[in-house]
């Protein structure tokens, strides 16, 4: 039996003889492998981004918004009637076992001033629990305490964007800024969280105690009013339970009759985001599948060329058979030839795919992630394509009758 190195030598020579044909055949595989890698990189990048944004929202998050008003038959949309209070928040925390943490929110836009710098930003009145509800660590300083809330202290936490705009290189902790002309001491800086899934800069915010917001900054139409309540469930499996418990509790507290609509809306953001994440994954799969089709087409190209090659080289096969080549020797020769085409094509395709993904993220600004697994997958797949599509021509060659093959013109 012939050895593999000798077979490789024969195959390389045969491929060199038809350089143009060999490289065009490889091109099919190069494009196929390159497409698979680039498409998977785009898909993985997209779903990674979605996952990151979900994580930045805080996990297992439920948001309660006040209900809509109906004025003259026209419904005004969620949040138009202030119905929620800090007491609702307290009650939810106490009475809903599926709920881990609760943070009321009273927010608005305000001008914040430090020295000669000023910046318009979203000011959020809330409680210390906010940071754990949103999985938002502090970069420096400290969180509010319950005492700060009770005393409506004039303390604030700055988002990264606000801190950068007001203080630049300076350390803001301990400094005093003015929010709607009231002086606030900066007690902490929030770590950077980046964009929200909707593209909103989450770091462009200032947190103050909810009581301070109610009494001194935004005012309320009735005591203890908040705009929304953010809730963290105990875990992903408690989300629905928590929703049901909250609904039950709030209907009771707001004295809503059995046939009346809720005066609040419960939104489960995590579920929404998980659906987005799922669709991103499906998209990755779809992109990969479409790209695989081009790899398959490349494989058919290999088979086509190998069949032509077997016919062209019938006489050569006849000579080899006459001097003692066995069926397996002939089969091996053509399979290795096909495999060489597909693997060299695969390697070049990896280079194309990786650099293509790099160019895409550089010029189109798409986030792409080339995972080692996708490279391995594409390369392995191209090898399989080579063996699969090389096998039939090789098999055909090995079955040639030496007498007929020698006579072939």
């Amino acid at each position: 039996m012939i050895s593999i190195p000798n077979t490789l030598k024969i195959s390389f020579r045969a491929l060199r003889v038809n350089k143009m044909r060999s490289s065009l055949t490889m091109l099919g595989i190069i494009i196929g492998v390159g497409a698979v890698i680039a498409m998977l990189a785009i898909g993985t990048g997209a779903s990674e981004q979605v996952s990151k944004q979900i994580a930045s929202m805080g996990s297992n998050l439920i948001v309660i918004l006040p209900g809509s008003t109906t004025s003259g038959g026209i419904r005004m949309g969620a949040g138009t009637t202030p119905t929620l209070t800090s007491h609702d928040a307290d009650a939810i925390e106490k009475e809903c076992p599926a709920v881990a943490e609760v943070a009321p929110v009273l927010n608005g836009v305000a001008q914040v001033v430090y020295g000669s710098q000023n910046w318009s930003t979203g000011v959020v009145g809330t409680t210390p629990e906010m940071l754990s509800v949103r999985d938002w660590p502090l970069q420096s300083g400290r969180n509010f305490t319950d005492q700060d809330i009770r005393s409506a202290a004039k303390f604030c936490l700055l988002g990264k964007t606000v801190a950068d705009n007001l203080f630049g290189e300076l350390d803001p902790v301990g400094q005093i800024i003015r929010i709607k002309n009231a002086p606030f001491t900066v007690i902490g800086i929030l770590a950077s969280k980046g964009q929200s899934p909707t593209g909103h800069d989450q770091d462009d915010t200032v947190y103050i105690p909810v009581t301070t917001a109610q009494k001194k900054i935004f005012g309320t139409s009735f005591p203890g009013m908040v705009r929304s309540i953010m809730i963290k469930a105990r875990g992903p499996e408690y989300l629905e339970e928590a929703e049901a418990q909250i609904k039950e509790l709030l209907r009771q507290r707001h004295r809503i009759g059995p046939r009346q609509d809720n005066d609040f809306t419960i939104r489960n953001l995590t579920q929404m985001m998980q659906a987005a994440e799922q669709s991103a994954k499906v998209m990755t799969l779809l992109l990969g599948a479409i790209a695989s089709v081009s790899l398959l087409v490349g494989g058919i190209g290999i088979m086509n060329i190998m069949l032509v090659s077997v016919t062209e080289r019938t006489r050569e096969i006849g000579i080899r058979l006459a001097v003692g080549a066995k069926s397996w020797d002939i089969r091996l020769q053509f399979i290795i030839e096909a495999l060489t085409l597909s693997l060299i094509g695969g390697l070049a395709g990896i280079i194309l795919g990786v650099s293509g993904s790099g160019l895409l993220s550089h010029f189109a600004g798409w986030k792409t992630i080339v995972s080692p697994l996708s490279i391995l997958l594409a390369f392995g797949f191209s090898g399989l394509v080579g063996i699969f599509f090389g096998f039939y021509p090789a098999y055909k060659a090995s079955l040639l009758n030496p007498i007929d093959a020698l006579r072939y013109e």
Partner: protein, 244 residues
């Protein structure tokens, strides 16, 4: 013992409506060291006979014994092994691999025996040297003359030390002068290396180099006789001496 022995060899091609008896009850024995010419008009069955004794084709019925071993019923790969070890082929059209050096063409049979690279190269070089092709090892077939190509083919036939060389019209594509050179070479191989040669030809002049002529007609052996050296052959020999 015979090197080649056929017993009641039949080869029938079924062409649907008619059947062609390419070989009809052929009984032949060839002893080691013989030089036999097989002659006959085209369609006489001489090529079929060559294919069968070359283990390229199997008879429809009858037995073919090579070195006493019946090759009937052997698999494709077993036949390939026998061809590799026992038989050297020399064809009319040379049948060298194109775009492949003389050296690598000669190495080809050893490639399928998995002989180490160094030994392969040494033996191929020695075979080429013996056939006067020293210095042409790296020439490709298209850079060699017809006679040189046929000598490369003979080197390939000899390199595995096969006891039997089958030559199918080895001079058919060569001019007279080169034909004489090649035939002289084959005679020398037969006489000095004791290699058994079976030669297929339709040229009486070429057949005269052998020691025994078997004539085929319509698939049957019509004559099988030892050669009496005749005048023309003698004169041929005289001319040939100039080239050897």
């Amino acid at each position: 013992m015979f090197l080649i022995e056929t017993k009641g060899l039949n080869k029938i091609y079924d062409l649907g409506e008619s059947k062609v008896h390419a070989l009809n009850e052929v009984n032949i024995g060839i002893a080691p060291g013989e030089f036999v010419a097989v002659m006959g008009p085209s369609g006489s069955g001489k090529s079929t006979f060559m294919n069968v004794i070359g283990c390229l084709d199997e008879p429809t019925s009858g037995n073919y014994l090579l070195e006493g071993r019946d090759i009937g019923g052997l698999s494709r790969d077993q036949l390939a092994e026998i061809r590799n070890a026992k038989i050297g082929f020399v064809f009319q059209g040379f049948n060298l691999l194109p775009r492949t050096s003389a050296l690598e063409n000669v190495e080809l049979p050893m490639l399928y025996m998995n002989i180490p690279t160094r030994e392969r190269e040494e033996r191929a070089r020695a075979a080429l040297r013996m056939l006067g092709l020293e210095g042409r090892e790296h020439h490709h077939p298209n850079q060699l003359s017809g006679g040189q190509q046929q000598r490369v083919a003979i080197a390939r036939a000899l390199v595995n030390n096969a006891p039997l060389v089958l030559a199918d019209e080895p001079t058919g594509n060569l001019d007279t002068k080169t034909s004489i050179e090649i035939m002289e070479l084959i005679v020398k191989l037969n006489e000095e290396a004791k290699i058994t040669v079976v030669l297929v030809t339709h040229e009486p002049d070429i057949a005269q180099y052998s020691k025994r002529i078997i004539r085929f007609k319509d698939g049957e052996v019509v004559s099988d006789e030892a050669i009496k050296k005749i005048q023309s052959s003698e004169s041929n020999r005289a001319t040939n001496d100039q080239y050897t």
